[in-house]
């Protein structure tokens, strides 16, 4: 289920490659401080998404069989999974929008 989203990481390296090739060679690009560039933020969000979804899934299975000890455990895990998904999707959409914007530039 996460396959549409995990492909974004490879698309992002494509975006970075495009930026380097499209005429910015004359300027020295500012070196991004490690760990806070967009690609690492996005991959971090995807990892968090995977782990929260796995937690929510196992708690949902426990809820189905009646073995769940606390209802709020599942509700919290489910809310976290939903928020993590929204985060990744918003990041992906921003990346795609930025890419489209760049492509529309007249150079």
């Amino acid at each position: 289920m996460t396959s549409p989203i995990s492909g974004i990481s490879s698309a992002l390296s494509g975006i970075q490659g495009l930026g380097a090739a499209s005429g910015l060679a004359g300027t020295t690009p500012a070196a991004p401080s490690s760990g806070t560039d967009f690609a690492s933020v996005l991959t971090g969000a995807v990892d968090e998404l995977n782990s929260t979804q796995a937690t929510a899934d196992s708690l949902a299975a426990q809820a189905a069989t009646g073995d769940l000890d606390d209802v709020h455990d599942y509700m919290i895990a489910s809310a976290e999974a939903r928020l993590a998904t929204d985060t990744v999707v918003t990041l992906k959409n921003s990346a795609v929008a930025a890419f489209t914007e760049i492509m529309r530039m007249n150079v």
Partner: protein, 115 residues
């Protein structure tokens, strides 16, 4: 691609809980019937073993067996207090399973957003 084992398990739980609601209503209706033994639905053990072995859960009716609680003089063993608490608990567990299934669908839907 859309349905995973968790969703099938939740679907199976919803069917089992629905059946339990019906059997409980049947028990309450028959509280004075001579010789009537209360019915009990068990879908959890099947579901638990299917999930543990990694199989996909079967959606359908669970096993209904007669309760072996002690009977009163007319052969009826329906205990109203037990049935009321079972009905309340089943209603809440049904809501929980619905919430869980909705949560899964919400996650899928938000992943498909493009703006």
């Amino acid at each position: 691609m859309i349905t995973d084992t968790t969703m099938t398990a939740l679907h199976a739980a919803l069917s089992g809980l629905q059946q339990r609601q019906e059997v409980t209503a049947d028990n309450i209706a028959n509280i004075d019937t001579p010789g009537y033994l209360a019915g009990r639905v068990d879908f959890e053990s099947t579901l638990r073993s299917e999930l543990a072995s990694g199989q996909s859960a079967t959606v359908g009716d669970g096993a209904v067996r007669q309760s072996m609680d002690p009977t009163r003089t007319n052969g009826n063993n329906v205990n109203l207090d037990a049935e009321v608490t079972i009905a309340t608990e089943t209603g809440l567990r049904y809501q929980l399973a619905l919430n869980a299934l909705n949560g899964k669908y919400d996650v899928l839907r938000s992943a498909l957003r493009t703006s």
